[in-house]
């Protein structure tokens, strides 16, 4: 597989344990108690969207569901709130996975921004229907910071798959 479909570079196959490790690390970052600080990205959503786009055969809605429940328990949110958002996010990301990788990083980030906003809107709708108060528009800053981090996080997550380039006469790429 390539970093993007236009790239000439060939990547090593992904290791399943690395996917799990990255999701668990993201879960740990989500548990860091940042309080009411606006614009803290939703790490689990970001990493989940990344793997759903890169490896839709390995990571999908079931993974989103399980990690969504773990986020719900850890943050003391309503059970199923993040799970529902992540299931929809995983569905969107998987179904767009063939399209998104044709674009460069910035345009990919725009796609991801929309997905993250949809996921946040679902959570907002669920809690508002249940009678919670509106947390203010700064709530949606998390999606924008997540989209900004799409490039760096994606590079870090692909790092184990890059292999040293040793071109020669018989192997031009």
């Amino acid at each position: 597989m390539q970093p993007t479909h236009r790239s000439n570079r060939i990547l090593q196959p992904v290791r399943p344990w690395f996917i799990v490790l990255s999701l668990v690390v993201a879960l740990g970052l989500a548990y860091v108690p940042t309080g009411r600080l606006p614009g803290v990205p939703d790490w689990v959503a970001l990493v989940l969207a990344f793997w759903c786009i890169r490896e839709p055969r390995h990571v999908g809605m079931t993974t989103g569901f399980v990690f969504g429940l773990l986020v719900d328990v850890g943050l003391g949110a309503a059970m199923g709130q993040h799970a529902l958002a992540y299931v929809v996010l995983a569905y969107l990301a998987s179904s767009l996975s063939r399209r998104v990788l044709w674009f460069g990083t910035a345009q990919q980030a725009l796609h991801v921004l929309v997905m993250l906003l949809i996921a946040q809107a679902i959570m907002l709708a669920v809690r508002m229907l249940a009678g919670a108060e509106f947390p203010g528009w700064t709530y949606f800053l998390a999606s924008f910071s997540g989209a900004v981090l799409w490039g760096p996080v994606g590079f870090l997550l692909l790092l184990p798959q890059y292999q040293p380039v040793d071109r020669d006469e018989n192997r031009p790429i």
Binding site: G28, P33, A77, L84
Partner: protein, 302 residues
């Protein structure tokens, strides 16, 4: 050759179609949401899962704890001296009141005994510190550094030096989650100190409080103090809660009574988790009520 009614052989079997999976999983999520938010059935699942993720949570909180401790360590000497002077002054004040209070408590106990009333329940408090705001942005909750192992139970009142700030809503092994008074779903039974009129107080969602369902014509005015009535069996009666800010009689059958909390609800650091030493007696079962002396209407044929 394929036959009608026979599906092709499952060579590339990849489970149910994505839309089917989406439908099944999101339905499951909605069911869980209703079960949790509406009925509270999933607290058990939450407890089990909390045990699993607890190490990860501690590891994640470690850097934040470190920063907070470092900040306390490097607090300036002037701040500490000012705080110390303030505390000494408060100590002297409260010592005087405490002396009188002990005498009054004894007198009260004797009078109650003379009158044949039940003894006032003794209280027990657990001192705690607010660690941080709860991460759920849709509610107003904070996390305390004391939990089930220190004797904190769900439902207890949480007070600071001035009055009530909230109620323990969920208990973890060494932490507890407190729903603040200003949360929309936090309701406190109160009474007006001046008149004894009872009512319920709830958060408005923007940091204020509102006393709900007050009839037009009730004797309530701006400046009245509200204290807990203790009717819920959870809170101790007489804790200061709020003062009335404005009374608006022009809207509908109920008076709109806006209040502001007495305590520093959203800024308190040192708090006390307060509850009765012994659990309150159970509410009597209406089935067990003794029959009236008056003749009962004949019940249906059984």
């Amino acid at each position: 050759m394929s036959l009608a009614g026979h599906s092709p052989p499952p060579i590339f079997q990849r489970g149910p179609a994505p839309r089917v999976r989406l439908l099944v999983l999101s339905t499951l999520c909605v069911v869980m949401l209703v079960a949790d938010l509406r009925f509270g059935y999933l607290e058990f699942v939450r407890h089990v899962a909390t045990v699993v993720i607890y190490p990860l949570q501690r590891a994640a909180a470690a850097p934040v704890d470190f920063v907070r401790n470092a900040r306390v360590y490097f607090a300036t000497l002037v701040d500490v001296q000012l705080e110390n002077a303030e505390l000494r002054r408060a100590q002297v004040e409260s010592a005087q009141r405490l002396l009188r209070f002990e005498a009054l408590e004894q007198e009260n106990a004797e009078l109650r005994q003379l009158a044949g009333l039940a003894q006032a329940a003794s209280l027990r408090g657990v001192g705690a510190e607010v660690l941080y705001d709860a991460p759920d942005p849709f509610s107003r909750k904070v996390i305390l550094d004391r939990g089930a192992t220190h004797g904190v139970r769900a439902g207890l009142a949480v007070v600071d030096a001035r009055g009530l700030i909230g109620q323990v809503s969920r208990v973890y092994p060494v932490q507890a989650e407190v729903t603040l008074l200003t949360d929309r779903e936090q309701v406190v039974p109160v009474k007006v100190e001046r008149t004894g009129m009872r009512g319920i107080l709830a958060g408005t969602g923007d940091g204020g409080l509102e006393m709900r369902f007050v009839q037009v014509g009730s004797d309530i005015q701006a400046g009245d103090r509200l204290v807990t009535s203790g009717l819920d069996g959870l809170f101790v009666a007489g804790l200061p809660v709020a003062t009335v800010v404005s009374v608006d009689t022009t809207r509908g059958p109920h008076v709109r009574v806006l209040c502001e909390p007495v305590a520093r609800v959203e800024r308190a650091i040192q708090v006390l988790v307060l509850g009765p030493e012994t659990p309150v007696p159970e509410r009597p079962d209406p089935q067990q009520a003794l029959p009236d002396e008056a003749p009962q209407p004949p019940s249906g044929a059984r």
